[in-house]
């Protein structure tokens, strides 16, 4: 063999070694501890897309170090406002001794400096330094180094909107243990979102949307010819796409307490009409279109409950609608294969299939109507 096969367990072994190394490092860091100073650093990640780091530290000691490093002489009396200006002036010097890193490469944050408080016997001004920036795409680990303090300080890291945080005690100049960014929270890509909402749309019909399945079956049962079925399905699809979009965007808003019983009524109507009509009339198409508008509002309610990603709103809406479509076509295809294909053209088809099936659907839909009205 010319080269070694990649061992399947090598990634895991490397990860475990990394964990072990981190544990040893953390264990020894606890013994390393110097005296604890007043500096505190807190990192907050927003959706893993951006970060905000706040350094709270003694203003005078920081300004003195910056001054010293830029060749200035220490001054004894300073106001908070003067020190804030000094910190802003020393921006480039300050940046030299801190590292905000993702996966081993440093990023350049935007930095705001503010100083508040007065120098008295009992208090001294505090510098609050805010670092902001975007988390690089696909970043896996965050690391932090701060060399402007000689004392031990705390680094806390948390995700915005959560309580859980990790705290690490660090010496000035010591690099933090790489902090893994939670991968499950990373925004999924477009393909994943599209597929997810396609599946949600499909399962909203099959198997979850029994009422919608019955409506589609009702349409199928009346049209003996494929063209008739397709005409109705198209009218239904166009209609529900319109109200689905309008409802999701909040342009149309009708309470589910109205929509849901009406959907049941629409199913009952189609089924009953199947019993008394044998041919497709033009006004039936108009009616199916109107019912489509109703069902669209029902789909919108379901989609709102599932939640739509703000970043990929249109994509999710379109794929959900496509999924609904696919679900309906699946129902028709299954019905055609089971009944239509074999007995659709038989003389007894209407008597033995269409009428009893429609009667069953009508009964179910009437029951739903009563149930949904809360009667």
């Amino acid at each position: 063999m010319r080269c070694a096969e990649p061992r399947p367990g090598s990634m895991r072994v490397r990860f475990m070694m990394w964990c072990a190394a981190a544990a040893i490092f953390l264990g020894s860091a606890a013994i390393h501890a110097h005296e604890i100073g007043t500096t505190q650093v807190s990192v907050v990640f927003q959706q893993r897309a951006s970060y905000e780091i706040e350094i709270v530290t003694d203003a005078i000691s920081l300004v003195e170090k910056l001054e010293a490093l830029s060749g200035g002489t220490p001054q004894s009396l300073r106001s908070a406002a003067a020190m804030q200006v000094q910190l802003q002036t020393f921006d480039e010097v300050f940046r030299r001794r801190l590292v905000v890193g993702f996966d081993g490469s440093a990023v350049r944050p935007a930095i705001d400096y503010s100083v508040s408080g007065v120098t008295t016997a009992t208090s001294s001004p505090v510098a609050t330094i805010r670092l902001r920036g975007a988390v690089p795409q696909g970043a896996r680990r965050f690391a932090w180094t701060y060399s402007w303090t000689f004392a031990t300080y705390s680094l806390t890291v948390r995700e915005a909107g959560t309580e859980a945080q990790t705290t690490e005690w660090l010496e000035g100049g010591q690099s933090s243990t790489p902090i893994p960014l939670a991968l499950p929270n990373r925004p999924p890509n477009r393909a994943t979102i599209g597929l997810r909402y396609l599946a949600l749309g499909f399962t909203h019909i099959v198997p979850n949307g029994f009422d919608h399945m019955l409506f589609v079956l009702g349409i199928f049962l009346l049209g003996r010819r494929l063209r008739q079925v397709l005409a109705q399905v198209s009218a239904f699809t166009i209609a529900h796409s319109i109200t689905l979009a309008l409802s999701v965007y909040g342009i149309v808003s009708v309470s589910p307490r109205v929509v849901e019983p009406l959907i049941a009524v629409s199913i009952a109507y189609v089924a009953i009409e199947n019993i008394f009509m044998s041919e497709l009339k033009p006004w039936r198409l108009a009616l199916v279109f109107a019912f489509g508008l109703l069902h669209g509002m029902g789909f919108a309610g379901a989609l709102k409950e599932l939640g739509l990603p703000r970043s990929e709103f249109v994509l999710a809406l379109a794929t959900f609608n496509l999924g609904v479509e696919a679900g309906q076509l699946a129902v028709i295809a299954a019905a055609f294969l089971l009944v239509g294909w074999y007995c659709g053209s038989r003389h007894w088809y209407r008597r033995l299939v269409v009428v009893p099936a429609s009667a069953l659907i009508a009964c179910t839909a009437v029951y739903w109507t009563v149930e949904r009205l809360g009667l």
């Binding site: 390393h32 003195e64 120098t119 001294s124 000689f150 004392a151």
Partner: protein, 283 residues
Amino acid sequence: MTIYRSHSSVPRRWVWLVAAALALSAGPLAAHDMWIEPTSFLPDAGKIIGVRLRVGQDFLGDPLPRDPALIEQFISVDSTGRKPVYGRDGADPAGLLRVAEPGLSILGYQSRPKPIVLPAATFNQYLKEEGLEAITELRARRNQTGSEAREIFMRCAKSLLYYGTPTDAQADRALGFTLELVAERNPYTLRAGQDLPLSLMYEGRPLSGALVVAMNRANPLAKIMGRTDKKGRVTLHLPQGGMWLIKAVHMVPAPDGANAEWASFWASLTFELKSDGTGVAAR
């Protein structure tokens, strides 16, 4: 007894720059000095001053808030006796003090021992910087030069404040700290360019052969250094006025049961020296 003089020809700006660069580039676990920096060395009578604790290098320090778990002694001593320095836990300044009696006030802070583990290179460098050749030799003899060092360290910081008319009769004195620098003349009777005699005590006895280093707030890289003689005494020439920090480090093999190989003691003494005239006049 040796007197080292500072290189006053080096421009102050450059000295600061180099000092800061050296201090800040030091490894994260390098040994740091600890000193007391009161909000005023020459407090007005009855006024409350803050007693700040600082940790750092070359006079660039970070505040140490009051940590009751670390304080062994935090006291002030004046002509009326010894009093504790009070303060709020977690606060900077770590202590508050009202100077009421004329004369010299001695502030003292002694910490409890704290453990630290240093990598071999850092530890060896720090032994060299602090003049602890005896320990370097001991480590070499024990074949430990390449090993990390487990150490417990203790802070023994003092500061001298003045209120009233300074006289030589009012002098610094030993507070009984494990390692202690004692000014043998009242520094408030001195002026810039004069010599300050000091003694270094370890467990109440003079410590000979120890490196004592003095640095000025405005010129911290120009270190003035001397070794203590057989009587534990050293005289340092203080070329300029302003705030001075004098320090010494002593190390011994750690006692049994300390879970460490070495025990170090960090003595410091801070005061303000008048730049002209005949010392600090009463205000």
